[in-house]
Amino acid sequence: MTVTDNSTQMWEERFAAIGGLDTMESSAGELVARDVHAWFGKRMVLEHVDLTMERHKVTALIGPSGCGKSTFLRILNRMHETIPGAQLAGAVELNGINIYDPRERAASARRHVGMVFQRPNPFPAMTIRENVLAGLRFNKVKGADADAVVEESLTKAGLWNEVKNRLAEPGGGLSGGQQQRLCIARGLAVRPSVLLMDEPCSALDPTSTRRIEQTIAEISQEVTVVIVTHNMQQAIRVSDHCAFFLAAENEPGCIVEAGSTEQIFGSPVDPRTDDYVNGRFG
């Protein structure tokens, strides 16, 4: 997997100046995608994607199915490359550090950019507590006060009061919404700079969805959030910024319009955005 970037010199200098991801502090980070292209095999699925996801803000990626939103999201924490045949060009900067720099390990990028998936997926062989601590264990983080991490992460994810008396029970025993919040807590426990969410509410009922949305609003104090959603109302409710993706038939997806949520939904510039956010297609 290589990054075709012409300004290798620039990355060299920057790497020397600010160091790599491993030395980066854990606080909300700014994520910038620069001229990202992506392929599955020979088929190009994303073209010329430039997007800035601001610190402490919630950025929603919207657009019809198959336009590359999820692919783009997975590019942001190097999950894209785990798919056989997946390729990429461009750069993704986290606080000015290119996560696709050849000197960076994929694991470092994933440690700083966490992810919550469409379907709640707590590890069934672990207890609630172990689920929260899984990231620390996988990354061999020593010296952390486990109890404090568990309480803090679950509190941030809005789950602490519901599970504090049954931390030793399996994570799979929770309801769907609780499981999803457990996954959020699991993602937060490693103190990422960014949390990516791939349609986190699509498998949940309206009440659980509302809880997750509240949680998103709360955790944006701590981390930058990027969320893929098919639900326009949800995008309006949770996001500060929006990026509208669109792919013409058999063409790679690209960003049609990006801006503040107010602007995208209130006064979209591109007629296609107007059509989409007003439900005229998609």
């Binding site: 924490n77 999950m79 785990t82 694991a107 470092s108 994933r110 440690r111 966490g114 992810m115 998936f117 379907r119 997926n121 590890f123 069934p124 062989a125 672990m126 207890t127 507590r129 172990e130 601590l133 899984a134 990231g135 620390l136 264990r137 996988f138 990354n139 983080v141 020593k142 010296g143 952390a144 486990a146 109890d147 008396n165 049954r166 931390l167 030793a168 029970e169 399996p170 799979g172 025993g173 996954c183 699991r186 993602g187 490693v190």
Partner: protein, 398 residues
């Protein structure tokens, strides 16, 4: 107006009166069959009797229920009876094999058998003098070594095929499939030719273990592969997204999730190898004395002893063979129970804690739940949280 008594269209309960109907139907059809068989015709033979009895019973049972209840009930009962009889038919061979060995091996079974060997036992000896301790030791060592060699190799192979992959995945899978078709005797000849002949090693338990490992490997590999396939891709992704290296994902997420299935496939492999006689003929050879060193000299083994003894002329010798078979039964059973207790996942199936809390909620028990309140405050040592509680596994599977 009189309130209409509502009855379900298809009653599911089976009342005592229904049991009486069932028993009387069986009895009357038995009588009819007896009359047909012994008074009216010249039929003979138990098989024919049972077949005709069964058919008559099913027919009459349907008819009786049709008369007493509705059409749906009659069909329900008829199909239920058919299925139950089918299940009993399937169960029959198992009962027969088990009871045959149990009855034949019971004669000599005593505590003495487990401690004595065939040392100094001749045709003229007292029938109770011989024991199978040497064969128990031999089987345990051979199968233990075989598992030690075969299980890690098999699990790693399955992990390679399913988790890592690469250009050779298909080849490896084909080879494993081919291996699972290897006749047991060929595995024995192979080890005999390669280990004992070519390398000039003598007969030994280890040679037997090698042959058994050859047989165990494909079974465990295929079983493990199937189990790993079931582990949802979401979990691997979640693990990777938490920056876990690939080996971590396999070790901490995939294998624990597949734990109970993993144990089953390993047990299956051990079950396949522990009863094998053919590969031991040319590798272990058999021994009347205790040889507890598996790396040197011929050893005894339970299946081998059973095979060798039942060919002998004297009843006491044959009885010892059946006793060896019975001990093998008991050994396998014990191993399986132990494996289930130790390896039955603590978080598998319907959680014990959850079932218990349901019981508590139903007011059937008012005890506190110490496990739920137990604080796992062990700092950063996340590895040592194994807490084997066998009941869950047992409940989930038995």
């Amino acid at each position: 107006m009189e309130p209409i008594k509502i009855k379900p269209l298809r009653p599911r309960e089976f009342k005592p009166s229904d049991v009486v109907v069932l028993a009387l139907t069986a009895l009357s059809t038995y009588s009819i069959t007896w009359i047909v068989f012994h008074q009216l015709t010249l039929f003979s033979g138990a098989l024919g009797f049972v077949v005709i009895w069964t058919l008559l019973f099913l027919g009459l049972y349907w008819l009786v229920n049709r008369q007493l209840f509705t059409r749906q009930v009659a069909i329900d009962r008829f199909v239920a009876a058919l299925m139950t009889l089918g299940a009993l038919l399937m169960f029959l061979p198992l009962v027969m094999v088990t009871s045959f060995v149990l009855i034949r091996g019971w004669n000599l079974l005593s505590a003495h058998v487990f401690v004595a060997t065939q040392k100094g036992v001749s045709s003229l000896s007292d029938p109770g003098q011989a024991g199978v301790a040497h064969a128990i030791v031999g089987t345990l060592e051979q199968v233990g070594l075989a598992a030690l060699i075969g299980v890690p190799a098999a699990v790693l192979t399955a992990i390679f095929i399913n988790e890592i992959g690469g250009p050779f995945t298909k080849t490896v899978r084909v080879v494993v499939t081919a291996m699972s078709g290897t006749p047991a005797i060929v595995a024995g000849i192979f080890i005999y030719a390669v280990w004992i002949q070519a390398f000039h090693q003598g007969y030994s338990g280890f040679a037997g273990a090698l042959a058994l490992a050859v047989l165990l490997l494909p079974t465990v590999t295929r079983g493990t592969e199937e189990v790993l396939k079931i582990v949802h891709q979401d979990l691997r992704e979640a693990s990777i997204a938490l920056a876990a290296p690939e080996w971590r994902t396999v070790w901490s997420v995939v294998l624990p999730t597949a734990r109970s299935g993993l144990v089953t496939s390993i047990l299956l492999g051990i079950a396949v190898s522990i009863g094998e006689t053919a590969p031991l003929l040319m590798t272990v050879f058999g021994n009347k004395l205790m040889n507890s060193n598996p790396f040197s000299g011929p050893q005894a083994a339970l299946p081998l002893l059973a095979y060798q003894q039942i060919k002998l002329p004297l009843q006491s010798e044959i009885d010892l063979g059946y006793t060896a078979a019975l001990v093998l039964f008991l050994l396998v059973f014990t191993l399986f129970v132990l494996a289930r207790i130790f390896a039955g996942g603590r978080l598998k199936g319907p959680s014990f804690a959850r079932m218990r809390s349901r019981i508590v909620a139903a007011g059937l028990g008012a005890t506190a739940m110490p496990d739920d309140l137990e604080a796992n405050g062990d700092g950063t040592d996340f590895q040592n949280q194994q807490r084997p509680t066998g009941q869950e596994g047992e409940l989930g599977r038995s």
